[in-house]
Amino acid sequence: MRARFGRISRLAGLSGRLGSSNGSRPYLRDCIIMSLAVAPTGVTFGVVADAAGFDLARIVVMSALVFTGASQFAAVGVVNDGGSGGAAVGSALLLAARNALYGPVMRRALPTSAPARMGAAQFVIDETTALSTAQTDRRDAAGAFWFSGVILWLVWNACSVAGALLGAVLGTPETWGLDAAFPAILVALLAPHLRTAAGRTAALGAAAVALGVAPVTGAGVPILVSIVALAPALWVRARRKEPPAGDTRDDTPGTAP
């Protein structure tokens, strides 16, 4: 389970000593820290979505129903660069694909009845998976999942709206350097994936491909085309017999999950 969690938490791009505190609800402290980290990201999302021309209603619908930060950032980013709706949705859904991988490890924390499980599915994201899989017993895993799911959903939505309203006040986003906020957040999301050789190959390859095709294709298309870099990355992983992302331990003390 520990190796499994290492992999999942790495996939989720999270580090830190999750589940280290004791008490009747050992996940409370981690959940609050997580909410504090999610809040500014939500505000930034609102501001950037507003700058990309999304109206308040669409920002609210997106945060409430899509509820996957990285995918939302990708979709808004592609639209902001003038990409088509198809390219925006394609990039966002490719990023959302990892949520499907969280399902199997999350089953012990989810309700057993099928309709309830389908309702719970909406909250299966990076953060809730990392927090829930860090719990040792099944009841805490379920508690951590629901508690963090609902709290993060509320924080994410409230902050998206706050960001959208703030964006309207800020005026020209370029004056504030807001167009750099987006890629900077993505650098932070990318960083944990660069710890393996396969991850670095995928990232470097994708960046090169995207830059290469950008001048000849429409906006958004380079993002989709860049996934050809997965082929050499999978080859590197197979050749080095590297475990799937995350099974390698971080050598910095205190940051290993």
């Binding site: 990892r98 750099a180 995928a202 001048p215 860049s226 997965l230 995350g246």
Partner: protein, 94 residues
């Protein structure tokens, strides 16, 4: 928007369904590498793309400063503030 909402929920639901385990075994290796590829592509496009071409402007300085903040393990909000401040600063003086 409908496709985005339906697709992102559908992927989560697929994961918790009975098919989840099989999908993880078959596609797990490729999907775990997807974020590395997509984030990297998004970063370079959002940093260098401009009206269909590539360009080097204030964004590059800001994103580079943000990357240093990430490397120094700064909290996300600081990463964003640094990137924005440097970009706005470079833009103001050029």
């Amino acid at each position: 928007m409908i496709a985005l909402v339906a697709g992102s929920y559908g992927l989560k639901a697929l994961g918790v369904s009975n098919l989840g385990g099989r999908i993880e075994r078959r596609l797990g290796p490729a999907v775990t590498l997807l974020p590395a590829a997509l984030f990297a592509a998004l970063v370079v496009i959002m940093t260098f793309e401009d009206a269909g071409g590539l360009t080097l402007d204030a964004r590059a300085a800001g994103v580079a400063a943000g990357a240093v903040a990430v490397w120094r393990k700064a909290p996300l909000i600081l990463v964003v503030v640094v990137a924005m401040a440097v970009t706005a600063g470079v833009r103001a003086v050029t």
